[in-house]
């Protein structure tokens, strides 16, 4: 029997009154994945992560981490698991180091010697003696990662780890995630930042209003999106007529000096010959690939007003 996957959720439902925050979500994260859980704000990403960590009880369905259900097995289900939801939170009146000591005591006293090591990893050693109340948002995020690493996790659950960070902070956080993934830690990362997911993740689930609308490899998702071709020709009007007459070329539209159409590769190859025979000079013939952003907007129906702004950033 193969080992149970790091994350396996089946039919998870969470409702708040009449609002269905998470609606029958299935999710599997395999060992070594950097899994992007992608959705607009309010799509239920944080609620799902809370259920995975046992912080809230699902109304239906079950979540298992390495085969253990946090509702049934309690804290034991979190062995080898670490992370945070909605941003890491610490005691503001204790120093960064004291906060980690407290958490080490809550874990396993043997982890205490590792405190300096994890502070070093997140580059917080110089400020570790200061009270967390005086930390910047970025420093708290880094302390959150340090607190997670203290558990020597095999699975990291990170809820929007770069949200609220400045560009340099975002870059550092992503470098850190990439490095941890390189060390073999499985990572489930929620985000509404498409470029982040594209940069870091090998697999994604896209959710909308609590339901999964896509789950699979990021490459497969992008491959489905080769939607058509763009053609620039010396004589666009005549080129349009050639396209219209050509079998296998559909949805031909002239937009300014550019033609757009849908066709498979064979039809496009034949079309280029036909254009040459018609003595129409071709200056560009390129496949049009939808960006993850376009796919995302298509799948989520453009739910959130702020995601497209962020996605471009």
């Amino acid at each position: 029997m193969s080992a149970p996957p790091p994350v396996e959720a089946r039919g998870l439902v969470k409702t708040y009154g009449e609002i269905v925050a998470v609606d029958h979500v299935d999710l599997t994260v395999e060992p070594g994945d950097v899994f992007g859980y992608l959705g607009p704000n309010g799509a239920g990403k944080t609620t799902l992560l809370r259920m995975l960590l046992g912080l809230i009880r699902p109304n239906a369905g079950a979540a298992r981490l390495f085969g253990r259900d946090p509702i049934v097995d309690g804290a034991k289900a979190l062995d080898g698991v670490a992370g945070f939801v909605e941003g890491p939170r610490f005691y503001p009146y204790l120093s960064g180091r004291q906060n980690l000591r407290l958490l080490a005591a809550y874990d396993d006293p043997d982890s205490r010697p590792r405190i300096e090591e994890v502070l070093e990893v997140v580059e917080l050693r110089d400020r570790a003696k200061d009270r967390v109340g005086g930390y910047s948002h970025g420093m708290r995020q880094r302390l959150g990662i340090a607190a997670a690493l203290l558990r020597q996790p095999r699975l990291l659950l990170l809820d929007e780890p770069t949200t609220g960070l400045d560009p340099a902070g975002m870059r550092d956080m992503r470098d850190l995630v990439r490095r941890l993934a390189g060390e073999g830690i499985t990572i489930l990362l929620s985000s509404h930042l498409l470029n982040e997911v594209e940069e870091l993740c090998n697999r994604v689930a896209i959710i909308r209003k609590g339901s999964t609308v896509y789950e699979g490899a990021l490459g497969d998702l992008l491959a489905t999106a080769t939607s058509g071709y763009r053609l620039r020709a010396a004589d666009p009007e005549r080129a349009r007529l050639v396209c219209l007459a050509h079998s296998g070329v559909e949805d031909v539209q002239l937009e300014g000096a550019e033609l757009r159409f849908k066709a498979d590769e064979q039809a496009v190859a034949a079309l280029s010959i036909a254009l040459g025979q018609a003595r129409i000079g071709v200056t560009a013939l390129v496949p049009e690939t939808a960006s993850l952003e376009e796919l995302f907007l298509g799948l989520t129906g453009g739910d959130s007003a702020d995601h497209d702004k962020e996605a471009v950033a």
Partner: protein, 272 residues
Amino acid sequence: MISAVARVYRWEIAKLLAQKRTYLGLGSAIVVPIIFVVVLVLQSGGPNDVPLGRYIRDTGLAVPFVVLFFMSIWGFPLITALVAGDIVASESHNGTLKTILTRSRERGEVFAGKVLASVSYTLAVVFAMGIVGVVAGSIAWGFHPLTSLSGTKVSAPHGLALLAASLAVYVFPLVGIAAFGLLLSTVTRNSAASVVGTLMWALLMQLLGVLPGTESFRAYLLGTQFEAWHGFLRTPADWAPVIRAIWVCALYIAAPLSAAYLVFLRRDVAGE
């Protein structure tokens, strides 16, 4: 399990020691007997109507007993509520509850640590008042034998032992108030509401004790148990009010604490 609770408890104490409200409560418990002694040194007359009030200038040992009476109405309940009402709610509010509940401790262990810390704080404030009261009173009037409620003289060392026993039995109803505070703290997730609600509940218990028509059940009200120590100061000692205080308070402690425990085990820990 026990070592896990001990670790949680140790850090609950560390957290209390790092928070201002702890010192506000502890400071009040220390300052009240000092103010009391200073005022009585500067003024003539005294609290002649309260138990041992007439003998307050005879010995420093009488001071904590008299202060116990005055602080039972709202002083100690407020000081207790300040911490017990906050101990879960502030963690909900700050989001640190989810931080500690995603580590390796079971919810029951975390809850037990918080209960023990609340009880320790209650013990600390009562005994701090007692010690400071004796010291301040002894500086003013000396450390002399104490006149008991039966009018007999009790040697100073014996009086000190009676004070320790009295403070210990006085802690029981206070822990009852702390248990109610913990329940509100767990259920409301709002520190201010829990502190005020706990104080209101303590005042209601006191009010019921003085209203006419409550005589039949007065002995079983939480507020009444603040007088149980009187039993120790009779000759011979009257154990009946002490024993009643212990079992009555046990009920007042067990009921809200069990409810709080069940809520804490099952509650959703989500953004506040």
